[in-house]
Amino acid sequence: MTVNIDNANAIAVERMIEARPVLTGLGKALETVPNMHEDLLLHAGPPIAWEEASGPLRGALVGALIFEGRAEEEEEAAQLIASGEVRLSPCHHHNAVGPMAGVISPSMAVYEVENKTHGNRAYSNLNEGYGKVLRYGAYSEDVQERLRWMHDVMAPVLGAAIEACSGLDIRALLAEALHMGDEGHNRNKAGSVLFTKLLAPHVAMAAPDPATASSVLEALGENALSVLNPVMAACKAMADAGHGVKGSTVVSTMARNGTEFGIRVSGMGERWFTSPCPQPVGLYFPGFSAEDGNPDIGDSTITETAGLGAFAMAAAPAIVTFVSGTPQDALNATLEMYEITAAEHTAFTIPQLDFRGTPVGIDLRAVVETGITPRVNTGIAHKEAGVGQIGAGLVRPPTELFTEALVAFAEQYGFQE
């Protein structure tokens, strides 16, 4: 069996680029997400058992079960999962993605994004904003209260608003945000403002009263990450479009569960390659240090997989400070990623690089050959459940992950000696 890897990669990456993700609605996970059921919790990263889960992920799982009314406190929640009554499954196995712990429970609201080019869909949960939040493993009563407000008050209005605007083109929004200093992962300030602007007229019409409209708009507009989750779902829809191309060495998934970093490859089906998650290098909020940090966590690496985030760092010089860098370092970060990618994006361009397209489609072969691993811009979670975000920085998956995948690829396709 011979395959032409270059051709296969060209097809995979072309599908990623041509995908046009549009936000089409907001639904309940149980009714919307494929294969979701009452006794299932979705989480970020590759598959993991409760015993292996890190503090933030455990906290988020506990918090989700409390939110669902299945448990009242940690012990009880842990028992539900440990006993197998409630099962765990990666978001990625359900066409979904979630930031940080990425926990999605059956009654949570999820954004639905449809790739209008190829027809596949992807899902992500609502963004809670900064501070003590479930995605960082916090589950105290104030966290629960916030979640309830988001689901009882905001979600119906948001859903109606999205429906009223008959689809919100996230690819176009991202293209514009890149020209406004975002990179789509750690910096979504411009994108969140664009998102709020586009929805505002419809929120005003959909809300039962001006006070609700005001509170929903405030929640969207104040949160510089409000668009992150629709963006991640859009990136997932784009990456999935490039998945499953026979003979392709393009990486179609990168995700972390707080314990392990996992990747999947377009031409290698649903197989995960995992290795222990490195700790991000970056800046910590006052009072915290690297010792407090959890190994990297979240599905948000889907942005880098789709050619955004650290890959588009050149567009976002404002955030180089978290790696003590200079604007030149931001340019260099993107330039370096061209070395390991199969193509340049046609929709996402970078003014600072003379409108060159962002590097997209990580080629396993190039990573192994050059030793350059993908850059990932990331938030840093406290290792204990419930403390929340304590910094932001840069992480790179270990080279071994890509080497292992490449060797397996060669075996699968008969390239061994």
């Binding site: 370092d329 260099n332 330039l335 050959e369 050059t370 080497t403 490449l406």
Partner: protein, 604 residues
């Protein structure tokens, strides 16, 4: 990483400590700088930072820097050795290694340095030349990448297999591209010197050379005679062998034949295989331009049919330059004088004199230029009965151990065995300085001959390091009551960045007899040993002292653009000549893991 193990050194009281880092790759310039930085640390007497090749381990042994650990190192391992006043000082020095390495990294500029050729090509689309000087084991793959990107290739790396050489040259020919090398040290293209190249005038003499320093000596000679070079193509030392069949040389010859700016063609090579020579000379004959040939070590034409029309043979490299300039005069009826070589009035230069050597003592010639070494062997045959060398020479004796001279010895320190994992001696004087002092300690040594090659790519100020070493060597011999003259021949032009005059002065001040023509230097050495004309003062050559007044050979490079993979000094010298260059921040593929690299090759 192993804990460094101390071993009591031979020099009483000192300690030799070694650390071996498995599978580390560093640019050889970095290694040289690290070695110097280590040697300058307090309490450190000597240091060695080399890859663990057999030749390098032998060198460590010669310098009393070998430890059991170091000798066990594999060729891809990095060996760090210090000889220190105390074990403590040695440990302190080795502990600084990582700081010294990272200090260098932070000095680098902010601009992005591409990691791969394709990304470099994207950054500088106007480049159509790629210079490759990565370690030999990786060089063929890099050169192949460059050819596939539509680049002409200057392949400096040596230790490339003949099979790879042939397949690269076939690939180049199929794409209408030129590949010079492997082991091509020098070229001049579109007015820009590549690799080790002297700054010379642009002119009407084109050269095809299968040798680096041979080409340099001829270019320097032509420049000194007031003429210049149109193009100078290197082919690599193996091109004219029966295996490679002059693939590059023939391509280069036809380029010069078609080149409207070339009036005279010069061919320089070590003696080629006779069948290849015949075919190549037949093609040369067919040129309607005068051709000057120097097959070093062959005085006559190998063509049994007698001298071919339009082809003349030269005996020495400097003689080749003279013949070429004469041919140029003959081919241009409107040239101001029939024989420019005779029309120059030399400025005053002191006649050099090499005193006769002690009876029974031996010559020790320590060359950095392979072709110069070859020419010396050839020319000295008239004077000395048996000469040992580390290079193949018909009638010469092969050295048993290239690190130990025996009898009359001519050693090429730029030979393959010496350059694996370390810099060429034209860039790094370290090896020659050590050898110079080693020879001075040997009572059999009667005279030391050195070449000092200037130009772009070479050490920025070789005489500043070789001068003091020469002085030290002369003093060391003198302590034992031995006279030991040192002869230095400087290959360079007045336009070279090192300042030719200053180089000559420094070497002379150090006590060396200095020459600028290689053949003259070798004859003077021969006479110092020989019975004939013993002690006769040499008359200064007209060529020797001619210094053109106008420096008309710089700043022609405005349109030349290139990619450099390997030695950063090549980038520096190209930029100094006004060329646009992108340097690739190259690393061995798959981190030097051969198994993975092989897998990658299959997955291409």
């Amino acid at each position: 990483m192993d804990e460094p193990v101390a071993q009591t050194g031979e020099a009483g009281g000192s300690a030799v400590l070694a650390e071996v880092r498995a599978g580390s790759y560093y640019d050889s310039v970095v290694l040289m700088q690290l070695q110097r930085a280590l040697a300058e640390l307090p309490g450190v007497l000597d240091a060695g930072v080399v890859m663990g090749t057999p030749a390098n381990k032998e060198l460590l042994t010669q310098s009393a820097l070998a430890t059991d650990d170091a000798l066990r190192a594999a060729p891809e391992d990095l060996i760090l050795v210090v000889q220190a006043e105390s074990e403590q000082a040695g440990r302190a020095a080795l502990a600084k290694v990582d700081d010294l390495l990272s200090a260098r990294r932070t000095q680098q500029t902010d601009a992005y340095r591409p990691k791969t050729l394709s990304s470099a090509a994207r950054m500088i689309p106007e480049a159509d030349w790629t210079l490759v000087s990565v370690p030999g084991a990786y060089a063929a793959a890099v050169a192949r990448d460059a050819l596939n990107l539509g680049q002409n290739v200057f392949l400096y790396s040596d230790n490339v297999s003949v099979e790879d050489e042939v397949s690269l040259k076939e690939l180049a020919a199929s794409k209408g591209l030129l590949i010079m090398g492997p082991d091509c040290g020098t070229a001049r293209v579109e007015g820009v010197g590549l690799g080790f190249a002297n700054r010379v005038r642009q002119g009407r003499i084109g050269i095809v050379a299968a040798s680096g320093t041979g080409l340099q000596a001829v270019m320097v000679g032509i420049h000194r005679l007031g003429e210049g070079i149109s193009q100078a193509f290197g082919t690599g030392g193996r091109d004219l062998t029966a295996d490679v069949k002059a693939r590059t040389a023939r391509q280069a010859l036809s380029l010069l034949r078609e080149d409207a700016d070339t009036d005279v063609i010069v061919i320089v090579s070590k003696p080629p295989s006779s069948s290849v020579a015949r075919q190549f000379l037949t093609e040369a004959e067919a040129c309607d331009k005068p051709v000057v040939v120097n097959f070093i070590g062959h005085t006559g034409e190998p063509n049994a049919a007698g001298p071919a029309a339009g082809i003349s043979f030269a005996r020495t490299l400097d003689g080749t330059a003279e013949l070429a300039v004469q041919s140029l005069g003959a081919s241009e009826s409107d040239h101001p004088s029939g024989n420019p070589a005779e029309s120059f009035q030399p400025t005053a230069a002191p006649a050099q004199r090499v005193p006769p050597v002690r009876p029974g003592s031996c010559l020790r010639a320590l060359y950095s230029g392979g072709t110069l070494a070859h020419e010396a062997l050839f020319l000295l045959q008239e004077f000395l009965p048996a000469i040992c060398s580390n290079g193949p020479l018909p009638g010469g004796l092969q050295m048993e151990n290239a690190h130990r001279s025996q009898g009359h010895t001519v050693v090429d320190l730029g030979g393959d065995a010496f350059t694996v994992g370390r810099l060429h001696p034209m860039l790094d004087n370290e090896l020659r300085i050590r050898r110079l002092l080693q020879e001075a300690e040997d009572p059999a040594t009667g005279l030391i001959l050195l070449d000092v090659v200037l130009g772009d790519g070479a050490h920025p100020d070789p005489a500043s390091e070789l001068g003091p070493a020469i002085e030290k060597a002369i003093v060391a011999a003198g302590r034992d009551g031995r006279s030991m003259p040192v002869v230095a021949v400087v290959i360079g032009t007045d336009a070279d960045p090192q300042n030719l005059r200053r180089q000559l002065e420094q070497l002379e001040e150090a006590g060396a007899a200095v020459f600028t023509r290689h053949d003259e230097a070798v004859y003077a050495v021969g006479r110092a040993f020989g019975a004939m004309d013993e002690g006769r003062p040499l008359t200064s050559s007209k060529l020797d002292s001619y210094v053109p007044t106008e420096r008309d050979c710089a700043g022609k490079a405005s349109s030349f653009a290139a990619i450099n993979v390997g030695l950063e000094s090549f980038t520096d010298s190209l930029r100094a000549q006004g060329a646009e260059v992108v340097q690739v921040d190259w690393r061995p593929p798959a981190g030097g893991d051969n198994r993975l690299a092989g897998l990658l090759a299959r997955l291409r």
